[in-house]
Symmetry: C2
Subunit: 390 residues, 2 copies
């Protein structure tokens, strides 16, 4: 049968109707095509750490893989060793006490957790509070699970924090989940004093499951915070952690969801019907990564600080303006009057071979912004700066 | 906050209402508890190969992991190298020609593919033909995606094959997907001559997406078959493959879905919003595993043949009767009159410390059957036999 004879007989689900392929999935294909055509594209888009994990992490993978007895299916809830490593890490860095038996569920990356949570808690028509701008996956997972998106709008004028009073003045009776993510991507906003407490009180009053997506907790900040540290939080909070960013393990796909046993049980009811436990050598390596001391994070942040300085200069070159107190793996900046983020991104890609993420892909509140990832070397960032200056 | 003060405020989705935690997820916890209490349980339940992958597969993992540039996010559709390795493997072992660019999508194990396919194609209320007995995940994925299960009943009297004529005499207008799985788990039935052709014709006439789950293609059979080899199949067939069984990589989580570009595009629209590409060292190792020659499979099957002989004797000991022409990783047998599979399983577990899977967990057509996995050594199988004889 040749390709021309083919026509697909079975239509797709209407739940895919509004959901596009993930932006970076299509964008990376375009960049690959440009590279195949001979272009040396500098990709300042995706937040995929370019540095390797700690050597002892890689060694734990290889050592475990040589064992003959570790290649079978692993427990759905992760090995006890990995769960304990997550609990110890929570205790050491966030001051949060978790039962490794019941309050930690390792994930194949925290991204899958967003879908698991949506599928485990949403009924069709349930509303979900989603940040605009914010990580696009909160939005697509909500749609795919049959939920209804309610944007909560963030802006520079309100320091990129939600207006909880205004939200509470609206009808929240159908809201089941609120996604929050501080340190916030893409704006680099850290949670200010008292904000997490206000969030938890808001969620308790309105019986909303507050899901904090927390992959950037360690990057360019020494003030590490878990939403679970707020007294009473466990009744309404679950939190996603990831080894993608601060442990340089994005491709390894390791994360966890933490929270009350009852909530995690619901999530595993969905998850155990869809996948299986993680590859044992990856679990052993992840446990080593979670045991890394503060010096690991300090060393990482020394790199990111130097890179951020160059990223600021790139933003200057683009006549974009930014806050200097941003945290996390990106620099977020406002476009000059008369240009939006898409125009600046297209101009940089097609004329200078530099890919910068347009802020609008995170929601229309980001239309007049661009985002630069710090996951390139100082040399590449400097080269991007030079290209944009010419 | 102590545990006693806690009550979960947010209820779960009603889609979880009918879906239990996956049977083996809870059962493995029970076995772990019995072991913790000092029992030496012989687990003849789950089909998790106990032998390691080929040494060159493990070496590829370790070698790749030492590279510093492979720890970031990987392409959503897998590396070109892994997709080509799957296409070459399909060509070599199944005589099926696939475009590695568009007709292969690597998966984090084929199990997740069952959920991706269900989510990508089912609208609420769409009907799904599910084998009874069959792999429980077809059933739970259908429910979780909002579909309606329609059992097609298999029995020893009809050689464990669906009665397509009887199905076609019923109203199939709402049926969107049919799950098939030959070699069939749990019954060990191989697809007879002409059966795949009849299935494809049935699916084309009724505009049903025919999903063949094919993890057992290599085990205890030399007649390897792909449903995609039937002329015209690509218009209605997608097929799941797995490295879990025949490559001894169950814990690694590698599989693929193969089929027409248009169907795979729909699947990736869901999948790319939920996860990311697989760990690069695992992809490199999987490509090596797919390149293994027939001698690898011959070596594996020599083990499984010897183990199957012991499993037959265990079934004799239990007064269960079976076909000797079974293929795949299990032995399926009928209980003696007056006992069902649950009674035999409980008796073996609680009195002899041997876990045997009750056939009823695969659907009520399996109630009077039990299943023994061949994923234990000859020594352990012999010990189980001896325990049951005493």
């Amino acid at each position: 049968m040749t390709a021309t004879q083919f026509h697909p007989i079975i239509p797709t689900s209407s739940r895919l109707g509004e959901t596009k392929e993930y932006y970076f999935s299509t964008k990376l294909r375009e960049l690959a095509a440009l590279r195949a055509a001979g272009k040396d594209i500098i990709n300042l888009g995706i937040g995929s750490p370019d540095m390797p994990p700690a050597p002892e992490v890689v060694a734990a993978l290889s050592q475990t893989a040589t064992r003959s007895d570790i290649h079978g299916y692993q427990p759905y809830a992760g090995t006890p060793k990995l769960r304990s490593a997550f609990a110890d890490w929570y205790d050491r860095y966030f001051g949060v006490d978790l039962d490794p038996e019941t309050e930690i569920l390792p994930l194949i990356g925290s991204k899958e957790g967003i879908m698991h949570i949506s599928m485990a808690f949403l009924n069709p028509g349930d509303e979900v509070l989603v940040p605009n701008p914010g990580y696009p996956t909160y939005r697509s997972a909500t749609e795919l699970a049959g939920g209804v998106i309610r944007d909560y709008r963030l802006s520079d004028a309100t320091d990129w924090l939600p207006n909880l009073e205004a939200l509470e003045a609206s009808d929240l009776s159908r809201v089941k989940i609120m996604w929050v993510n501080y340190p916030h991507m893409p704006t680099g906003t850290a949670a200010p004093e008292g904000f997490f407490e206000a969030l938890v009180a808001f969620a308790r009053r309105n019986e909303i499951l507050l899901c904090n997506d927390n992959p950037y907790a360690f990057i360019l900040t020494d003030s590490r915070k878990s939403l679970l540290s707020v007294p009473g939080a466990k009744e309404v909070v679950i939190e996603l952690s990831s080894l993608s960013k601060a442990q340089n393990m994005a491709g390894w796909r390791v994360g966890a969801v933490a929270g009350a046993k009852e909530y995690l049980k619901s999530i595993i009811r969905f998850k155990s019907n869809m996948d299986s436990g993680m590859f044992r050598p990856v679990q052993e390596a992840a446990a080593v990564a979670l045991g890394l001391g503060p010096e690991w994070y300090d060393g990482l942040n020394a790199h990111y600080r130097r890179r951020r300085d160059i990223a600021f200069r790139i933003m200057d070159q683009l006549n974009c303006t930014y806050r200097t107190d941003q945290v996390g793996l990106f620099v977020w900046a406002k476009c000059p009057a008369g240009k939006d983020g898409y125009a600046i991104s297209d101009d940089a890609l097609y004329n200078k071979d530099v890919f910068i993420t347009p802020g609008g892909i995170f929601g229309d509140e980001g239309n007049n912004y661009v985002r630069i990832s710090l996951c390139s070397t100082e040399e590449r960032l400097t080269e991007a700066l030079e290209r944009l200056a010419n």
